[in-house]
Subunit: 334 residues, 2 copies
């Protein structure tokens, strides 16, 4: 049996290119005592991957050169050489990386109660993006009924769930996205109160029109000019949730800092960073609540699934071009 | 009797100049029923004054053109035409503005328990700067024993008190100031653990050396490059208290935003703005505590007192050149 893997070869400056990764095929070794063979079905592609490639201090160590590219994943246990914690046929998830098979003793893997059909949803709504949305908007954003909530990257895996949770909690929700199609998805499908297409609208004018009262919470996935515009609209005691800065991840020069940051002072507001790993112990609680909302029809998600580990780089680029709708996922099983 | 007043004539772009203000002399009118005549002794000069000159949304309305320049002040009631709340001889404080006399019904003025000699301390340690320091470091900075606290503008009216309170609370305190003399004042007179002269030292190298473990709290009066450097040294769950941005107040171009702001995300830290007016109801509590520390010799303050309302502009400029030691005060009584 052979395994196809995406190996991280060279740290990119700016956008990754053909020298960043290499597709490698190798023969799978035999399982040692206590090991499992996991056949991976889906790989999660997330903007955070760009940060993991930099050799700088962050919330987790960078991916090492010549290691398998890090990613979240979901798959099935297909062989078990005496590991008592798992059974053949278990659907399992972890940081499996961009590869077709994983041999492991099971550390860091956990079983999920789902079926083949719903596997992609499990690395979206019930995976890192959903957990980030849930804890980000509730614990850091501290939303309450009547709050005006602005979200950047609103049609993405995290943003789309943030907005739906804010609607469930009785907030007015405005989403910022990069196409009319995405904006329609936000307002018609997800029930957002308004949406702004930042590629065709002047963001300051649009904010003035669509949230004239200002904003209580800004959930930021994007950074750059959009963060600056949002800061200019803060109400008193507003909360800015820093979840990401996708507009800045591929900068070769310095990151653009928010020149309107003193608005935090004027409005006595808070800007706070969040990393979903801090809430690992509460993932069960969040999954249960989101599962209920899903059943009640209050929450929906969209997955953008592409095929083939050979297409990893092309698919990855869609994170930054925005050319996808919903949670970006790569199917690696052949 | 005549009154000399500094009248705000023109909103400055960048640094105020000779067209910004005009010294005006006028004859004081008779007191109407219920009015007081207050002879002002000392005017408080604060970096915040620069912000009040801009015609933009802030925490208080801008100073109006042709109005007396806004400032904190302390003085004595010298005439009273039937106002039951005050007596001749009362020492009183308020936003008296840059003028020698004020006629008022007493709204917004309050009596302070001090004497002539200690009047300047009352618009420093027990006035806005002291209150800002007290609530900023305790309520927003949330310091606890063992925290590593970095302060910019550390030899100034606010910063010097912030650092002393942090020492009282058992923190390690590092101050950033603009001369060796000020740095010596911080470490020898005020007991700071270390000081950095940002004009002669590389701030990144100095931080590496003087707080190698990173920082738990950054109390920022300065903004710009120093804020960026501090952000690069945050420990997990750190707090950045935004009190001011004196390096940016006279910018003609856009304010320099902190390009290292994503450090807040990596370290799950919080950057929060504060405005001292929000704590007005608790000024008594803070004054009592600081008075005790003063008596116990744990807290000291320095006032830099200059003379003559004619010298207002020259004195004001010292806020930004840094050419003063301690709380900047103008004596306006002749």
């Amino acid at each position: 049996m052979t395994n196809k893997q995406i190996i991280f070869k060279q740290r990119p400056s700016g956008y990754p290119d053909e020298n960043t990764w290499k597709l490698q095929t190798s023969v799978l070794p035999e399982l040692a005592e206590g090991e499992l063979l996991i056949q991976q079905h889906y790989i999660s592609l997330d903007p955070a991957m760009r940060g993991w490639m930099n050799d700088s201090k962050s919330y987790i160590p960078p991916v090492e050169i010549n290691a398998v590219m890090r990613s979240g994943s979901i798959g099935i246990v297909i062989k078990n050489n005496g590991n008592p914690k798992f059974e053949i046929g278990d659907i399992v998830t972890s940081w499996g990386g961009v590869q077709q098979y994983v041999i492991t003793k099971g550390e860091g893997w956990y079983k999920v109660d789902t079926d083949l059909k719903n596997m992609p949803k499990h690395i979206g709504m019930f995976g890192m993006p959903g957990m980030t949305a849930y804890f980000g908007i509730l614990e850091v954003g501290k939303i309450k009924k009547g709050d005006i909530v602005l979200i950047s990257g609103a049609a993405g895996a995290v943003g789309s769930i943030v907005g739906q949770i804010a609607k469930i909690k009785g907030c007015k929700v405005i989403g910022i996205a990069g196409s009319d199609e995405k904006c329609n998805y936000l307002t018609y499908d997800l029930g957002f109160d308004a949406a702004i297409n930042y590629k065709t609208e002047n963001i300051y004018t649009a904010l003035k029109k669509k949230c004239p009262e200002g904003i209580d919470v800004f959930f930021d996935n994007v950074g750059g000019k959009i963060l600056d515009a949002a800061l200019s609209k803060l109400r008193m005691h507003a909360r800015v949730v820093l979840c990401g800065a996708i507009s800045q991840y591929n900068n070769k020069a310095k990151i653009q800092g928010p020149s309107n940051y003193l608005s935090l002072l004027v409005t006595r507001s808070t800007m706070q960073g969040m990393v979903v790993m801090d809430y690992t112990k509460r993932f069960g609680e969040a999954g249960k609540q989101m599962g209920e909302w899903l059943k009640e029809g209050k929450l929906q998600s969209k997955e953008a699934i592409f095929n083939g580990i050979e297409n990893f780089q092309d698919t990855y680029e869609r994170l930054f071009t925005g050319d996808k709708k919903g949670k970006l996922i790569l199917k690696v099983i052949e």
